[in-house]
Amino acid sequence: MSLLTVTDLVKTFGEGDTATRVLRGLNLTLEKGQMAALLGPSGSGKSTLLTILGTLMQPTSGAHVMLGVDLTTATDAEQTAFRNRHIGFVFQFHNLLPDFTALENVIFPTAIREGRETAAARRRGADLLTRMGLAERIDYPSTNLSGGQKQRVAVARALMNAPELVLADEPTGNLDRASALQVMELIGQINRDEGTTFLISTHDEKIAATCTRQIIVGDGQVTG
C-alpha cells in the first residue's frame, strides 16, 4: 500500500540563463512501513527531494500525493498542519532548540499542535527518550548533551507525533561510527516495531545496507 507518490517532479532554482534544474521529472513511490535509503552523489537532488517531500518547499511542477492528499495544491497553513501531523524530520545536524531541555525538545511538535505541554505528551516524550537510552538525560538542557545523544533526541522528536513518514537527511553524517550505528539500530527498531516509514538520505554504503530498500538518485531522477 503506497504511502506517497511523486510523479514527474521538477524543481528549478533561479530563472533564465541562471536557472538550475535540480529535479528532472522524478518519479517515486514509497510503500507504508518501508525503510528506504536515498543514495546518490552530491548535487544529485537528494536533499531537494527530501525538502519537497517534507512540504518545506514547493516543486516547480509535478504531483506530490501523500496519504491521498495532493500536497502541491495545498496552502501553506494546510501543508504546515500536514507536516506536523504526518511527517517527522531528522537533520544531519541535530537542530535542537538550545534553550530547551531534551524532553521539551521531544514534545515540541505535540505542544505546538495542542497549544500547551500536556501530561500525556510528557509521558510519551519520556517513553521515547527512554527507548533512545536517554532516561537519565530527560531534563538535561539540550546544549549539555553529546553529539550522539543530541541526534537520538532529534530522532525521538521526529517520532513524537507518531508520523507515517520520517525523512532523515544524513542523520549519521556528524556522528562517529559507534554513535551512527546506534542511531541506525534505533531507527530500524522503530521501523520494525511501529511500521513507521523512513526515507534516509546517505552517502554511507554501510548505513544504506541497514535499510530494506535503496533508491538511487542521479541527475535529478531516480535511476535505480
Binding site: T51, G54, L56, M57, D76, A77, T80, A81, R83, N84, R85, F89, F91, N95, L96, L97, P98, D99, F100, F108, P109, A111, I112, R113, E114, G115, R116, E117, R157, N161
Partner: protein, 401 residues
C-alpha cells in the same frame, strides 16, 4: 497561546542580561513619561492655584452707574462725572446667595463691597482699593489665610488687612491704627490685624485693603446691597456653563473668569501640548527600542524559527511567540518604570504643599495606568514588524545556516 507564552518567556530568560537591558530601556521611557505627566500636571495645578485658583471664577457685579448728564448751555463747560467715586450696588443680590451656594459646581461664594479709598497715617497717604469681606469668608476666593505673614486673616469689626509692601511703605506695624477714607469722604479708624504677602511687592501687596463687610458698608454708605458676588467653582473649566446658570437663576449679570483669562487658558493648553509631545517622544523611543531589540532577536534566532516551522509551527504561532515577547517586555518595563517613577516622585511635596521655589511635581498626576497601558500597546505594536519578519523565515534556508 499558552505554549507561545512559554517559548517567549524562555527566550527572554535565556538572555537575562539582554532582557534586563531591554526592560530597563523601556522602564526609563515609562519613567520619563510618568515624570513628565507629574511635572506638567503639577505645574498646571500650581499655576492655576496661583492664578485662576485665587480668583473668582464667576463674578456677579453691579453695572456701572451712568454719570449724570450735564446739559451744556451756550458759553458754559460740560463736565463728566468720574465713575470711580460712585459705588454701584446690587440691592437684592444677598437673597440669591443661598441659591448660588446650592449649585453642585459651586465651592464657595463671597459677597463683597468694593470701592476706592485712601489710607492715611500721619502725613503718609496711599490710594487703595478697599474690599469688604464677610467674616468667615475671608479666604473663600483669594486664600488670604495662606498668604498671611503676620497676624491672621480674620476680619473682626474695625480690623484691616494690608499687604507687606504697603505696610512697609507706610511704616506700619501689627496692632497699629490707621485711618481709611472712602472717596465719598467717610473716615474710619481701623486696627492692622494682619499682614499678607501674595507676590513680590507690587499689585495686591501695595494697593489692596481688606476690611469687614460692616466696615465697608459704613465707608461706602451702603446700608444694604453688595458691589459684587464672587463665586469659586470646584472645576474652573466649568465657569462658562455655570455663568449662564447663575444668570438664569438670578437675572443678574455674571462674568466668567475665562473672559479675562483667555491668555492663561492658551498658555495652559500650550503647556499641556508640550507635555503630550514629550510623552509621545518617550513612547516612540520605547517602540523603537523594543522593535530593534526584537528584530535582532529574530535575526539571531532564525535557525530556531526554521526548526519550529519544520516541526509544524504555523506562521501565526511564530508571530504569537514574538508578539508575546513584546507584550512581556512592555508589561515588565511598564511596571518597573511606574514603580521607579512613583518612588522618584515620593520625596516631592504633595499638591497641597506646593510652595514657590519648589518643583511642583504632583505624584497623583503620574498617569501610571495610562503609562503602563500605552507601553504594553506600544511594545506589542513594536513587536509586530519583527514577528512578521520571523514568520516569513524560510525554514529550508534558516536550518541550513
Amino acid at each position: 497561546m499558552l505554549y507561545a507564552l512559554k517559548i517567549a518567556s524562555r527566550y527572554l530568560t535565556a538572555s537575562k542580561a539582554q532582557t534586563a537591558l531591554l526592560v530597563l530601556g523601556v522602564a526609563v521611557g515609562v519613567f520619563i513619561f510618568i515624570f513628565m505627566s507629574a511635572l506638567i500636571g503639577g505645574l498646571a495645578e500650581f499655576i492655576l492655584s496661583r492664578t485662576a485658583g485665587d480668583i473668582s471664577h464667576v463674578t456677579i457685579e453691579a453695572e456701572e452707574i451712568d454719570p449724570v448728564l450735564l446739559l451744556a448751555l451756550p458759553g458754559e463747560v460740560l463736565l463728566a462725572q468720574e465713575t470711580a467715586s460712585e459705588t454701584a450696588d446690587l440691592r437684592e443680590a444677598a437673597g440669591f446667595i443661598p441659591l448660588i451656594e446650592a449649585l453642585p459646581e459651586v465651592r464657595a461664594v463671597s459677597p463683597q463691597i468694593t470701592g476706592a479709598g485712601f489710607l492715611r497715617r500721619g502725613t503718609k497717604v496711599a490710594q487703595v482699593t478697599v474690599t469688604g469681606l464677610e467674616a468667615g469668608r475671608e479666604s473663600a476666593i483669594l486664600n488670604l489665610d495662606s498668604y498671611m505673614v503676620e497676624g491672621d486673616a480674620r476680619l473682626r469689626s474695625g480690623a484691616v488687612l494690608l499687604g507687606r509692601t504697603l505696610v512697609d511703605d507706610m511704616g506700619l506695624a501689627l496692632g497699629q491704627t490707621v485711618v481709611l477714607q472712602s472717596a465719598d469722604g467717610v473716615e474710619v479708624a481701623l486696627t492692622l490685624t494682619g499682614i499678607y504677602q501674595i507676590g513680590t511687592g507690587g499689585g495686591p501687596d501695595r494697593r489692596m485693603a481688606y476690611v469687614s463687610l460692616p466696615t465697608a458698608r459704613t465707608l461706602f454708605a451702603m446700608p444694604q446691597g453688595l458691589s459684587r458676588i464672587e463665586i469659586k467653582l470646584f472645576d474652573l473649566y466649568a465657569a462658562d456653563a455655570v455663568t449662564l446658570r447663575v444668570e438664569g437663576l438670578t437675572g443678574l449679570p455674571a462674568t466668567s473668569w475665562t473672559e479675562d483669562g483667555a491668555q492663561l487658558l492658551e498658555a495652559l493648553k500650550a503647556q499641556a501640548q508640550t507635555g503630550y509631545f514629550l510623552k509621545t517622544f518617550a513612547m516612540i523611543t520605547i517602540i523603537i527600542g523594543v522593535a530593534s531589540a526584537l528584530l535582532l532577536s529574530t535575526y539571531r534566532r532564525r535557525p530556531e524559527i526554521g526548526i519550529m516551522r519544520a516541526m509544524g509551527a504555523s506562521r501565526l504561532f511564530v508571530v504569537g511567540v514574538f508578539v508575546t515577547q513584546g507584550a512581556l517586555i512592555g508589561v515588565l518595563g511598564g511596571l518597573s518604570g511606574a514603580v521607579l517613577g512613583y518612588l522618584a516622585l515620593l520625596p516631592f511635596p504633595t499638591r497641597d504643599a506646593f510652595r514657590s521655589g519648589t518643583l511642583p511635581m504632583d505624584i497623583t498626576q503620574g498617569s501610571y495606568g495610562l503609562a503602563i497601558t500605552l507601553t504594553v500597546i506600544g511594545a506589542i505594536l513594536a513587536s509586530i514588524l519583527p514577528a512578521r519578519a520571523a514568520a516569513r523565515v524560510d525554514p529550508v534556508t534558516a536550518i541550513g545556516q
